[in-house]
């Protein structure tokens, strides 16, 4: 039971319970306003009945030609609202809008290679690894040195405009690119 509603500029006054969590970055004003002034329909919030924000997704549409797609820039759920399928619901909205409004060929997202919980969730939603991006993330700065933590998987899911599934491949984990090669 959660309200699905648009992300609004004034939500920046309300998102502390989500953003104080270590895994969620708080960006400058212009980050949020850039997204809202261009792709407001790819940004939404899940709200509890008492008005607390539970999670949100921020996305965009980008790419040229066959590469035109929806992209998940940030997806986050506050610790106390995890394990309620909120991410699933927000992703399904973003996919629907990427498909119907933007007519994209696929949706993609980046995830830390170490984040196995998230990876299996996305796999459950129909995403597969398209490629591995070297050193996409900064180190967490917590004294770990694992490469996996800095590398990202670029995961994709084809939309209705790509019935032949040209935007994905079976052995994506083997394809390695450097962070410079991706936008």
């Amino acid at each position: 039971m959660s309200v699905l509603r648009p992300f609004r500029a004034t939500d920046m006054f309300k998102f502390n319970n989500i953003n104080l969590d270590i895994w969620t970055e708080t960006y400058g004003i212009s980050f949020y306003l850039t997204y809202l002034s261009r792709w407001p329909d790819l940004c939404c919030v899940q709200e509890a009945p008492n008005g607390h924000m539970m999670g949100y997704v921020i996305g965009k549409a980008e790419g040229h030609g066959q590469d035109w797609h929806g992209h998940v820039t940030a997806l986050t759920v506050a610790p106390e609202y995890r394990r309620l399928s909120l991410a699933r619901k927000m992703m399904s909205l973003l996919e629907m809008v990427s498909d119907e409004t933007y007519k994209g060929f696929f949706v993609d997202l980046y995830v830390r290679c170490t984040n196995s919980v998230a990876i299996s969730m996305y796999e459950g939603l129909g995403y597969s690894v398209y490629r591995r991006v070297r050193e996409y993330y900064g180190s967490l700065g917590l004294g770990r040195a694992s490469k996996d933590e800095e590398d990202a998987f670029d995961m994709r899911k084809p939309l209705s405009r790509d019935p032949h599934r040209r935007s994905v491949r079976a052995n994506g984990r083997e394809f390695v690119v450097s962070a410079h090669d991706v936008s």
Partner: protein
């Protein structure tokens, strides 16, 4: 541009791009030597100068460029940055308007003129520009710019009530004049719906919405769907909405809670929509509806099982509403549903807050509920641990006052500690980036100890809370919730440095500083060691204020951008966001704290006084928004008790009344101490003024408003602050006339300013020239009238210091917390500093002699001696107290207070230097 010239200008741009502003100036000078009238180079030089903070020089050049009425793109762009840097936004508008007038065919200039108006919120002018552009260039996009500008003008507070519908009707007429219908894109459709809603033309809106394309848009656009729901509600079409919701829930498996609410609203519509008492027939009909709705929700609950909690919670809400409308329901129904809900979703962290609205049980129901919960405690797996956390929280929520005795609370605290330590085993192997599953038990311990402190007044319970929470924080490094509790408790204990440490570890940044800095910066002057030269809190204020600068430079740009991308649905929110941040209460509370610390930290000279006077006057008329987030602080206190937040506030949080009172105090004091009067200030100011406020209260002359006490202010002040407020009023009433008499006349000041400006070769301040020719002589002029007769100090002034002394003595002999003592001492100290500020003008012997103020000087001296001796006494007592606590005995007492967590865990204790900040009040 010729290649030769291009070659000369390129290095200027390069230097500007790399922020090498000094070399940019040099490069400009080189070109200007040969081409003294090159406007572009002048504009670029002005830009480099403003970046170098050479405001006056930049100002002169800027005025020269503007006088040439530039139309060249490069010049305009450079000038836009210059004028922004100078804070002259209205000049940007005028510049583009002038350029566009000269080239009405230039679409780009039209767009720039429109954006310039948008940035400053000049909707009327924006609308006119867009209309003109639409006529000229025949693009529907300009039509919508003009439509939406009219809507925004109608929304503007400054627009007269009667004009609003006129503007909206104009906007509606314009929509029908477009080449394409509004559903061409969702944001235009949104604008159309918005106008119809504001004009209360709900049927017309419904026609649009029921159209095939309208329905399609609402399916993919949450923004349009949101306004659709709103319109349908206003139209009274609740039942229709309910029917649709039913279909969505059952057939499309839509689990948006809004659909459930629609169905609930529809179910009770016949009773809820009228104030008449419902007839038996209506009641019977509604009861029937309830049964149908119950079936829908039950079906959803069955289908979803553990996958989604909407169905079960909707059933609870249905029962609650049934009961509240006085319709028959079985007394135990809600409890049984809550039990059912708990059985299914008790292992989710949000179970507690989900159930809260339904748990106001009494008597037998409460007994059964309690025994149900008690039977559900189990600690075998991480899932049952989460369940048990919910059990403990839910039990605590329904505790009655009779059950909140010190003995029982202590027993509870000990039980929470036990289950907390036990639960840690489930997180042993987690990486340190993860939260410990048992964290919430530690938070409960904190709650129980705070409650114990409230019940007994014994400080040792707060120390126990701090010790346990410190331990938990070390085990779960990322738990910001534990830190929030610690910040509050440390403040109560008078250990602000420790509170600040935890705040910094929370990594609060960007816009969060507006909503969260209150945690450490509320009455920061009281915690600060500024008088001793420590500027930690002052820089914390400066850092937290960065966000307001970004807001004023960035947000308006995005409002313009949303016009250019035609995302009209965002614009009203962007404007609200900008306004709430610009006029944030916390922003100006921090400003006042910064001023209070500055006064304690820096020499009281004209530079400080004049600058702060102007800045405080700027914010005096603002209508503030309170964006502070108090909800983020966890609360698991019983429902019969105040929340954890309320319990742990050292003093009532300062609000708009507090701010107003302190602004008045400081503006009055600075005004008296300053030589600036309003005419001078006007001439010395560069940049735009704040928009005048429309509040009739604000139309009175400033001087009158400053001495007017309002109830709202008094209500916001602590007892000590009330005394202080009265004291400052008496003080300025007493010394005001002497200041007014001695203050040099405006003409003398302006002459002085012009003179010092003349020293810089070739740059006279133009506005000064005329005023400087006045009849003033140097410095203190001879006055015609006699100096005001010297009066004895009002009784209230010495009495204030006596009162504070007796307050201090009374509090220190009781069981007061260090924070209370600090507040008394800090307030007394502030009074002393204000006294110094208000008398510094009369210090020089020459003034005393010239105006025959000997007797006045004596009164000042007597008061100063009295105040400082009282402060010294307080300081000595505090220092002694600090030493006592820091002795081995004090340490031992603290360790004993936190023995509960030590005994059971063998942890190393963090010694908390309580009262450590007590020693810094020396005068």
């Amino acid at each position: 541009m010729s290649t030769a010239l291009d070659r000369q200008i390129r290095p200027i741009y390069d230097a500007l791009d790399t922020q090498s502003n000094k070399s940019a100036v040099l490069a400009c000078n080189k070109v200007l030597k040969k081409q003294p009238n090159n406007v572009l180079v002048k504009a670029l030089k002005a830009l480099a100068l403003v970046r170098l903070q050479k405001v006056e020089e930049s100002l002169l050049l800027a005025d020269e460029v503007l006088a040439k009425k530039p139309t060249d793109d490069g010049v305009l762009t450079a000038m836009m940055h210059v004028l922004r840097g100078l804070g002259r936004h209205s000049d940007i508008v005028a510049m583009f308007e002038t350029a566009y007038k000269q080239h009405p065919q230039n679409e780009d200039l039209g767009t720039q003129t429109f954006f310039a108006n948008v940035r400053v919120g000049n909707w009327k002018a924006a609308q006119q520009v867009a209309t003109k552009m639409h006529k000229q260039f025949q693009d529907d996009r300009y039509l919508y710019w003009s439509i939406f500008s009219a809507v925004l003008q109608a929304n503007d507070m400054a627009t007269p009530e009667a004009l609003r519908p006129v503007l909206l009707k104009l906007a509606l007429r314009l929509i029908s004049s477009g080449n394409t219908p509004s559903y061409f894109n969702p944001d235009r459709f949104y604008v159309h719906l918005l106008i119809l809603r504001e004009l209360e033309m709900y049927d017309d809106a419904a026609t649009l919405l029921n159209h095939e394309i309208g329905q399609k848009i609402c399916e993919t656009s949450l923004v349009c769907d949101e306004i659709r729901r709103d319109i349908m509600k206003l139209k009274g079409a609740c039942k229709q909405e309910g029917e649709q919701a039913k279909v969505k829930i059952l057939e499309k498996k839509d689990r948006n809670w809004l659909e459930f609410l629609s169905l609930l609203d529809a179910t009770f519509w016949d009773i809820a929509s009228t104030s008449e008492p419902a007839s038996e027939d209506v009641k019977a009909a509604v009861t029937e509806e309830i049964a149908k709705t119950r079936k829908v929700f039950s079906e959803a609950a069955t289908v979803d099982g553990l996958k989604d909690r909407s169905g079960l919670l909707a059933l609870l809400e249905l029962e609650k509403r049934t009961k509240s409308h006085g319709l028959w329901t079985d007394a135990c129904e809600i409890r049984m549903m809550a039990e059912n809900y708990f059985s299914q979703f008790g292992d989710k962290a949000c179970c507690y807050e989900d159930l809260l609205p339904y748990l106001a049980f009494e008597g037998e129901e409460l007994e059964q509920w309690t025994s149900f919960l008690n039977s559900r405690k189990s600690f075998d797996t991480p899932d049952t641990l989460q369940r048990s956390i919910n059990v403990y929280k839910l039990l605590r929520y329904n505790l009655t006052s009779a059950e909140l005795t010190p003995e029982l609370e202590l027993a509870r605290a000990q039980e929470y500690i036990k289950v907390y330590l036990d639960g840690l085993k489930f997180g042993v192997n987690l990486p340190d980036t993860e939260l410990q599953p048992a964290d919430d038990f530690a938070i409960l311990v904190g709650h129980a100890y705070v409650s114990l402190w409230k019940l007994t007044g014994e400080e040792s319970h707060l120390q126990s809370a701090a010790a346990t929470l410190e331990y938990a924080s070390a085990r779960s490094k990322q738990s910001y919730r534990i830190r929030l509790l610690l910040i509050r408790i440390y403040h109560l204990l008078g250990a602000p440095a420790l509170a600040l440490d935890h705040y910094r570890l929370m990594n609060v940044k960007q816009v969060q500083t507006d909503t969260l800095s209150h945690l450490i910066l509320s009455r920061a002057a009281m915690w600060s060691l500024a008088p001793l030269g420590d500027i930690t809190y002052m820089s914390e204020c400066m850092e937290a204020s960065q966000i307001y600068m970004s807001n004023s430079t960035e947000t308006a740009e995005f409002i313009a951008r949303a016009f250019s991308t035609e995302r009209y649905s965002q614009i009203i929110d962007f404007i609200e966001f900008e306004d709430r941040l610009d006029n944030s209460l916390q922003r100006d509370l921090m400003k006042v704290e910064h001023v209070r610390m500055r006064v304690a930290h820096e020499p009281l000279n004209a530079e400080l006084v004049d600058m702060e006077l102007i800045e405080l006057k700027f914010i005096f008329d603002r209508i503030h928004h309170d964006n502070r987030d108090f909800e983020v602080i966890p609360n698991y206190q019983p429902r019969c008790q105040p929340s954890f937040n309320e319990q742990t506030l050292p003093l009532k949080p300062p609000g708009a009344g507090w701010l107003s009172a302190y602004l008045k105090v400081y503006i009055r004091a600075f005004q008296e101490a300053s030589d600036l009067d309003e005419t001078v200030e006007d001439k010395l100011l560069i940049g735009d003024r704040p928009k005048p406020s429309n509040d009739p209260e604000n139309q009175l002359p400033l001087r009158e408003r400053l001495v007017k006490k309002r109830q709202e202010e008094i209500d916001d002040l602590s007892e000590d602050e009330k005394l202080f407020y009265e004291y400052t009023l008496a003080l300025s009433e007493w010394v005001g006339p002497y200041h007014d008499y001695v203050r040099p006349p405006p003409s003398a000041l302006l002459a002085e300013a012009a003179k010092s400006n003349d020293l810089k070769p070739g740059h006279p301040l133009k506005s000064m020239a005329a005023a400087a020719n006045g009849s003033a002589t140097n410095g203190h002029s001879k006055k015609d009238e006699e100096p005001p007769a010297v009066k004895e100090s009002p009784e209230l002034i010495p009495k204030f210091f006596d009162d504070m002394k007796s307050r201090f003595d009374a509090v220190i002999s009781g069981t007061a917390l260090p924070s209370e003592l600090l507040h008394i001492v800090a307030t007394t100290q502030e009074a002393y500093l204000l006294f110094a500020l208000e008398t510094v003008r009369f210090k020089p012997n020459s003034i005393i002699k010239q105006y025959k103020f000997g007797q006045l000087a004596q009164s000042f001296k007597d008061l100063r001696v009295k105040a400082s001796s009282i402060l010294n006494e307080m300081s000595t007592v505090l220092a002694k107290l600090g030493e006592e606590v820091a002795t081995p005995d004090g340490r031992k007492a603290f360790v004993q207070a936190s023995s509960s967590i030590q005994d059971s865990s063998g942890v190393r204790l963090y010694f908390v230097s309580v009262k450590a900040s007590a020693h810094h009040f020396t005068v």
